[in-house]
Structures are given as structure tokens and as C-alpha cells.
């Protein structure tokens, strides 16, 4: 009984910790993004002097793959968390990613600096996650609508959202930043400063998610809910509140992923998230459906395979087809994914 009280008191600190965590993340982003602003002038010189050197194609693609994998991980970790806690394969997650880019673009257009725009996008993404869960998903859970039915609801949501985003953003491509990328050369590979910031932000944010899941009470509660919601509920964890927080996290992480993806690809449009939706599913399934760190491992594999395969493929536009093939192959030989527990899934 005393333990329960203790837990109850601790429970009041949950929002505080979340706030602290978000502040830390934002602070980290600020610090990191301040550095290359000074370095960029230097970079131009470096790039000029070493413009003649050839980069190694394989290593360069490996690096691109890791970068893309990290971005994918950031975008898909929410997908994995939602699957783990609610059993829902959320087909509208791609639109969450696009929404981040769209919100940032709207903020930039209104005159906000890029960093502020990114923060606004992350906040808007979190708000959209909260709104969705309040208005839609929690109601569906209350009505005991099966996860498969919820999946079709998410398909409907994706259809509605992608078209509303198209009405909002228009059909043309948009750019978040008009600055021209310079590239640093490190031996056989080259990388732009913007990409380096993106990678750093990804690593920090993913680290924060990992810390949250492993070290905080709420994170442990999240893992307990994903393990067995009924048992978690019986031990005094408020399952619905955990799921609400997972939705908020998922929305804001996807939005951050969307912003970084728009910067990485240097362009975005209303279907940017929809294009990577299946890559996210591939990553999450490959890593182990619902496994908290599966998304990271799976994303890195997907990113590296997609980029490195362009070296060997007859035409580079087949790179996503290779990922789809890999997904099917994974389910054939190891349906539980790389990190998933072996269980009976049939």
C-alpha cells in the first residue's frame, strides 16, 4: 500500500520530467545548431580547396545510408511505440511526418527563423498527437474497436490528412531553407553541415527517447504497458495516460523527423511522409514489431541497404523496391524481426 502511495506521489512528477526532457532536447538542438553557423564560412574555403578530390562511392553511400537511417529512426520510433502500446499499425504516421514539415514551412513563410520553426513544428506535432488521441483513438479504445479495425480507421485518416495537407501546402515542392549546401570533405566522403546538424539532432533525440524508456518511471510504465496492458493496469499504471503521452511523443518525434527530412532532401511536399511510410513500416518490422529499439536498428539497416544498393542496382530508382523485398524476406525467415522475442505469431 505504501508503495502505491509512493508511486502516486511520483506520478505527479511525470509531466515535470517530460517538460525537463523536452527542454533539454531543445537546448541541445540550439547549442548544436549554433556551432555550424560559424563553421559554414570555413566550410566554403575547405570545399573550394578540395573540390578536385574524388569521393569513394561505396563509403559515401554508406554514410548517406546511415544519415537517412537516423532520420528514418526518428520518424518511425513513434510508429513503433504506438504499435507496442496499442497494437495499432498507424498508417497515418506518414502524414504526421509531413505535418511537421508543413508546420515548419508555414512558420518559415510567416517569417520565423528556421530553429523557431522547427520548435513550432515539434510542438504542433505533439499537439496533433494529443488531439488525435483525445478525439479519436481513446474513443475507439473505449468502444473496444479491434486493432485491425483501428488500422483501417488510420488508413481513412491518412487519406483525409494527405489531401488536406495538399490543399494546405499546394501540390508544388517547398523548401524550408534556401541556403546553398556546402560540403566538407573527410577523406573519402563528403558531408554538408546541415546534414551533420541533422544527424546530431537525431542522435540526441533518439538518446533522449532511449533514456526516457530505460531510466524514467514513465518510460518503464510505457514498456510495461507494451508488454501487457492488463497487468500494467493492475499494478496501478494508468494505461490511457501512458498511451496519451506516447501519442504526444510520437507526434512530436515524427514532426521533428519531418523537418529534418525536409532539410536533408532540401525539399518537401504534401506526400513527403507518405513516400517514406512503407520504409518506416519496413524498419519497424525488421527491427521487431513493437520492440522499443527495433525501430532504430531496423531504420539503420533500411537506410544503409537503400543507399548502398544504388551502387549495385541496374538503376538507382529501384532502391526502395529492394527495401520492400527485404521486408518480405525478413517476415519469411524471422517474422519477429531482428530484436523481437521469438513467439508464436500464427
Amino acid at each position: 500500500m505504501r508503495n502505491a502511495n509512493h508511486a502516486g506521489q511520483k506520478a505527479r512528477h511525470f509531466p515535470l520530467r517530460i517538460a525537463l526532457l523536452s527542454t533539454l532536447t531543445v537546448a541541445a538542438i540550439t547549442v548544436i545548431s549554433a556551432v555550424p553557423a560559424q563553421a559554414s564560412q570555413l566550410a566554403t574555403e575547405v570545399a573550394d580547396t578540395s573540390g578536385g578530390t574524388e569521393t569513394n562511392l561505396l563509403l559515401q553511400n554508406l554514410l548517406n545510408g546511415i544519415t537517412f537511417g537516423l532520420l528514418l529512426a526518428l520518424a518511425s520510433v513513434g510508429l513503433s511505440l504506438i504499435y507496442a502500446t496499442t497494437g495499432l499499425s498507424n498508417f497515418a504516421h506518414g502524414e504526421q511526418v509531413t505535418f511537421g514539415a508543413a508546420a515548419a514551412f508555414a512558420a518559415v513563410t510567416a517569417g520565423a527563423p528556421l530553429l523557431l520553426a522547427a520548435v513550432i513544428a515539434v510542438a504542433a506535432g505533439g499537439a496533433s498527437g494529443w488531439l488525435q488521441d483525445t478525439v479519436l483513438w481513446s474513443q475507439l479504445r473505449k468502444r473496444r474497436i479491434a486493432p485491425m479495425q483501428q488500422m483501417i480507421v488510420s488508413i481513412g485518416l491518412a487519406l483525409a490528412a494527405v489531401n488536406l495537407l495538399q490543399i494546405w501546402m499546394g501540390a508544388q515542392r517547398v523548401r524550408l531553407s534556401t541556403s546553398i549546401e556546402v560540403r566538407y570533405e573527410f577523406g573519402p566522403v563528403s558531408i554538408g553541415p546541415q546534414t551533420m546538424i541533422s544527424m546530431a539532432v537525431c542522435i540526441v533525440a533518439l538518446g533522449a527517447v532511449g533514456f526516457f524508456l530505460q531510466r524514467t518511471r514513465l518510460g518503464r510504465a510505457t514498456r510495461a504497458v507494451s508488454d501487457n496492458p492488463a497487468l500494467a493496469s493492475a499494478t496501478g499504471i494508468s494505461v490511457n495516460r501512458v498511451i496519451r503521452i506516447v501519442w504526444i511523443m510520437s507526434g512530436s518525434l515524427a514532426a521533428l523527423g519531418g523537418v529534418l527530412l525536409a532539410l536533408y532532401e532540401n525539399t518537401s511536399d504534401f506526400s513527403a511522409g507518405a513516400r517514406i511510410l512503407l520504409l518506416m513500416f519496413a524498419a519497424v518490422t525488421l527491427g521487431g514489431l513493437g520492440h522499443p529499439f527495433g525501430a532504430l536498428v531496423g531504420s539503420l539497416v533500411v537506410g544503409v541497404v537503400a543507399e548502398v544498393s544504388t551502387v549495385f542496382l541496374p538503376t538507382p530508382d529501384l532502391k526502395y523496391a529492394i527495401v520492400m523485398g527485404m521486408l518480405i524476406l525478413t517476415l519469411l525467415v524471422r517474422p519477429q524481426g531482428l530484436l523481437g522475442r521469438k513467439e508464436r505469431v500464427g
Binding site: 468502444r143 485491425m148 479495425q149 480507421v153 483525409a160 530508382d317 518480405i328 517476415l331 505469431v345 500464427g346
Partner: protein, 319 residues
């Protein structure tokens, strides 16, 4: 507002093609409970199989044969790893495989056969079918409110006959012992297994039949339009799902009613939108209509999962 446009879309080959694909999905989902999220992939396989054969000089019948064989092989390829697994695995694999077909089709790699991302033009494969048309000479014929070219009349005739045949097939198989086993699989796999039936084999048969119907729908769609890989993406599969769930899964006429209502409402919203919202730019009208499709799908699942004709007791989505 032009009521004729709505009437024209209701009888159009596109509606027939989607009705066929939805009947195919009804075999998967309505009868067996399989979550096939790649029906557009089956359509694409069908239209590629047909159009490539014909454009490379094969006959129409060979084209149809190859298109069906392609769909059968695709079903075997999809079902083999996943039909033993939980339902959502089939959903992810089918959607991934359909996407793979589209990506390979639109790739520059096989451009010689598939035409790359622009696909195959109608004049490369429509010839043999249009030459069979009994409606000669070729001209525009008006019957009541419908005014079409004779080749479209011919296509519509074949398309709707195919829909009727498919619906008849569903009606007959649904009542047969075979259909009852499938419904048993849908309701309780283990119970069927304990009766000594091979669940895997029955699921595979349903996947193949539905897939072949999807391929047939694809061939008819290609005749009404052209082979375009990008118009057979994920979203197209979602439309087919909306049609099936709208009309009522596990019913004979549900998919047909769903397809007719879907396209009629689509055209209706497109015509209504500029009247209600005069500020809407022309290029925003279609996305708005499609957004309504999504919202409609959500409302359908939440408030009437059995659709218009369906029976709520029969269809529970607990896969």
C-alpha cells in the same frame, strides 16, 4: 451541377473495373478475413501482364492468360511467407509487395517493356480487344443520357458482364461447402484446423481467386485508361477497401454497390464543392473530394462497420 456526369461515371468502365477488384477483395476479406492491402498491386500485375504481352505481339487471349498467371504467382509469392502468420503481417507484406510491383514497373530498368514511369499508352495494347467490337462502324452512340464512343460501349458491356460473372461466382461459392470452410477460417481458424482442414491451403485458394479477379479488374481499367503505375498506388487499394466496406463486406452485391456509390459520390462532391466553397481553387477540388473519402472511411468503420448491405453479426474485424 450536371447529373449526366454522375450517371456516366456510374456505368463507366472504371466503376466496373473497381467493382471487379472489390469483389476480389471480398473473397479475401469478406469471406476469409484476409487483410490484403495490396489489391492495387494485383490490378497492376494484371494490366502489365496483359499490356506487355499484347504490345510485344502476343494475342489478346495469351495476354489474359499471362495476366491471370501473373496474379496467381503473385498470390503464391505473398501467401507463402505470410498466411501462417498473424493477420497484420499479411497486411504489411501485401502493401509492401504491391509497392514493389509499382516501383519496379515505374523504374527505368525495364523501360523497354513497362514504359517506365509514363507506363504504356493505350494504342500499344488496346487494338486486339477493340477490333473484336461488334459495334461497327466506330462512332459516338447516344442512348438516353449516355453518350459514348462505340469502343467504350463495347468495353462497358464486357466489363459489366465480367462483374456479373464474378458476382455470380461469389454467390455460388459463398453458398458452397468450400465457402463455408472459408467463413469458418474467418471466424475461428483453430476450429477449422481441428476439423482436419488445411487452413493454409484454403487461405491460399481465396487469395488466388481474389487476386485473379483483381487482375481482371486491372485489365479492364487499363482499357478504359492506360497502364499507369502511379495511378495504382497504395491509395488505390484504400479506395477499393472503402468501396467494399461501404457496400458491405461478405455480401454478393456489396462491392458493386460500393464501387458505384464511391464514384458517384466522388463526382458529386467534385461538382458540389465549387458551389458551396466558391473560394476553392480548381486544383484543390479533387484533394477535397478525396479527403471526404478518408473521412467517410473513418465514419463507416466507427458507426457502420458492416456497410450498407452487410450483416453486423457476420462481419467482425478481429483478425
Amino acid at each position: 451541377m450536371d447529373i449526366n456526369d454522375i450517371l456516366q461515371i456510374i456505368v463507366s468502365p472504371t466503376t466496373a473495373a473497381f467493382a471487379l477488384a472489390a469483389i476480389g477483395l471480398n473473397f479475401h476479406y469478406g469471406l476469409t478475413g484476409l487483410l490484403n492491402m495490396g489489391q492495387a498491386g494485383f490490378m497492376l500485375i494484371g494490366m502489365y501482364g496483359y499490356a506487355i504481352t499484347v504490345s510485344q505481339g502476343g494475342s489478346m487471349w495469351l495476354g489474359i492468360l499471362i495476366s491471370f498467371v501473373g496474379a496467381i504467382l503473385f498470390a503464391l509469392f505473398l501467401g507463402w511467407p505470410t498466411l501462417r502468420l498473424r493477420g497484420d503481417y499479411l497486411a504489411i507484406v501485401t502493401i509492401a509487395a504491391a509497392e514493389m510491383v509499382r516501383l519496379i514497373g515505374r523504374s527505368q530498368w525495364l523501360k523497354e517493356w513497362t514504359g517506365g514511369n509514363t507506363g504504356l499508352r493505350g494504342n500499344q495494347f488496346k487494338g486486339p480487344f477493340e477490333n473484336l467490337s461488334p459495334f461497327q462502324p466506330a462512332r459516338i452512340v447516344e442512348i438516353g443520357p449516355f453518350s459514348f464512343h462505340t469502343t467504350i460501349w463495347w468495353l462497358m458491356l464486357v466489363g459489366w458482364v465480367a462483374v456479373a460473372v464474378a458476382a455470380g461466382l461469389f454467390w455460388r461459392l459463398n453458398k458452397s461447402p468450400w465457402g463455408r470452410v472459408l467463413k469458418g477460417v474467418r471466424e475461428d481458424e483453430d476450429a477449422v484446423r481441428s476439423l482436419g482442414k488445411s487452413v493454409y491451403s484454403f487461405k491460399m485458394q481465396a487469395l488466388i481467386i481474389g487476386g485473379v479477379l483483381g487482375a481482371a479488374g486491372g485489365v479492364i481499367w487499363a482499357h478504359g485508361n492506360a497502364v499507369q503505375p502511379d495511378s495504382m498506388g497504395r491509395v488505390t487499394t484504400f479506395w477499393i477497401w472503402t468501396m467494399l466496406l461501404l457496400g458491405g463486406a461478405a455480401t454478393v452485391l456489396g462491392p458493386i454497390l460500393g464501387s458505384v456509390l464511391f464514384w458517384a459520390m466522388f463526382v458529386f462532391i467534385k461538382q458540389l464543392a465549387p458551389l458551396v466553397l466558391p473560394n476553392l481553387a480548381p486544383q484543390q477540388i479533387e484533394p477535397l473530394a478525396l479527403a471526404f473519402v478518408g473521412i467517410g472511411l473513418i465514419l463507416l468503420i466507427v458507426f457502420r462497420p458492416q456497410g450498407i448491405l452487410g450483416d453486423k453479426r457476420e462481419i467482425s474485424l478481429n483478425v
